[in-house]
Amino acid sequence: MLMALFNIVIFPGLLFLGIYALFFAFLDRKLYARLQNRVGPPWFQPLADFCKLLGKETIIPQGADRRVFVSLPVFALAAVTTAFIYVPIWSVNSLFPFEGDLIVVLYLLTIPTLCFFLGGWYSTSLYATIGAVRALTQLFSYEVPLFMAMLAPAILAETWSISGISAYYAEHPLYILINIPAFLVAMVACQGKLERVPFDLPEAETEIVSGTFVEYSGRLFAIFKMAIDCELVVVSALIAAIFLPFHAANPWLGFLYFIIKTVIILILLCLFRASMARVRIEQMLMFCWKILTPLAIIQIIINLLVRGALA
């Protein structure tokens, strides 16, 4: 019982995730700045931002439903934190592995997007409404290729559990090469999930101010921001667990591997963000359905064929 509480609150739960998310936010911003030949923020900047936001006044719009408006950021953070518990960190096994946790994690990761949508919708601001609608439209476009890209390795590994997939590829490391197209699809699609350039349409600062979050301020916004940062960690940890399964028996070494893998994924995501312009909503739909989805389907077919050949 005590151990479970420790796991949920401190490691690998809320506290560790929070600290690691702040570190990730720093790394992301610093790298982004260095890619643009700037100095970038100091290491404590995300923490300072978080603390500052906590101290600011929270304003709730008059037309908004108070309870829903306040609970949405907490919901988003809770969903992300819960998802993290099912992602392996120090070994091939996560904390509470079970058959089918991949699907649970993917669905838990959808909840923040729904929270952004509802948050924007309940803000009763025009910008937020447009941002909310965009968030939902975007969800329908990237979710399908992302899920399919995640499921393709699972088909090859013949298991629906993240730990099982990790263990399978740790045993047969060469099979990872088959999954490279799925890895690329997942990297692109998760850029949409994380609402980063080129798919940052729901917040598009220069178009709709900051979209869904335009009415959020103070503590609520801090929690939302935290949820987004945590989502970045969870998604990169998930991709690392599925597509880059190099594991060590020693948990300390395994943990080091985890950090290296997630940072590599972050660097790729950051490079992706730095090198493109934001697309329009209809261009994004077109891209996701016409390029990413067929690519993911082809991957699934290949994996099915390989599976058949192996059997």
């Binding site: 890619l35 970038g40 493109m276």
Partner: protein, 119 residues
């Protein structure tokens, strides 16, 4: 170059290992040219109090007053840095060249009264 997305990635990656182009202001400062038009400096010795500078100033920021007696004149220049637009027309207009500009641009103050300088 072929068409395609993410063309700038290589260019940007190169710059990660280069010195940043920005400077963190209060800790590091850019070197300004000596000819930069900053705050006006005044030399009371050579001034004859003709006030041509005041007549040509577009913002009405400068004024030279006689603080001595009629016989023994001694001049003071009163400059409102808050109004000054740093065009340095007064420097050009001055017949005795007693005004000149300095590359001093750090002129922020907490109150408008602090911006009024007597030289």
């Amino acid at each position: 170059m072929k068409k395609g997305p993410g063309k700038i990635a290589g260019f940007a990656l190169e710059h990660v290992f280069k010195k940043p182009a920005t400077i963190q202001y209060p800790f590091g400062k850019l070197k300004l040219e000596e000819s930069y038009r900053g705050k006006i400096e005044y030399d009371a010795e050579t001034c004859i109090g003709c006030n041509i500078c005041a007549r040509d100033c577009p913002a009405g920021a400068i004024k030279v007053v006689n603080v001595g007696t009629k016989e023994e004149k001694s001049f003071q220049c009163r400059l409102d840095v808050g109004h000054c637009i740093f065009c340095a027309q007064c420097v050009d207009s001055c017949p005795k060249k007693c005004l000149h500009f300095s590359p001093n641009i750090e002129l922020a103050a907490f109150s408008r009264d602090n911006l009024k300088v007597t030289m």
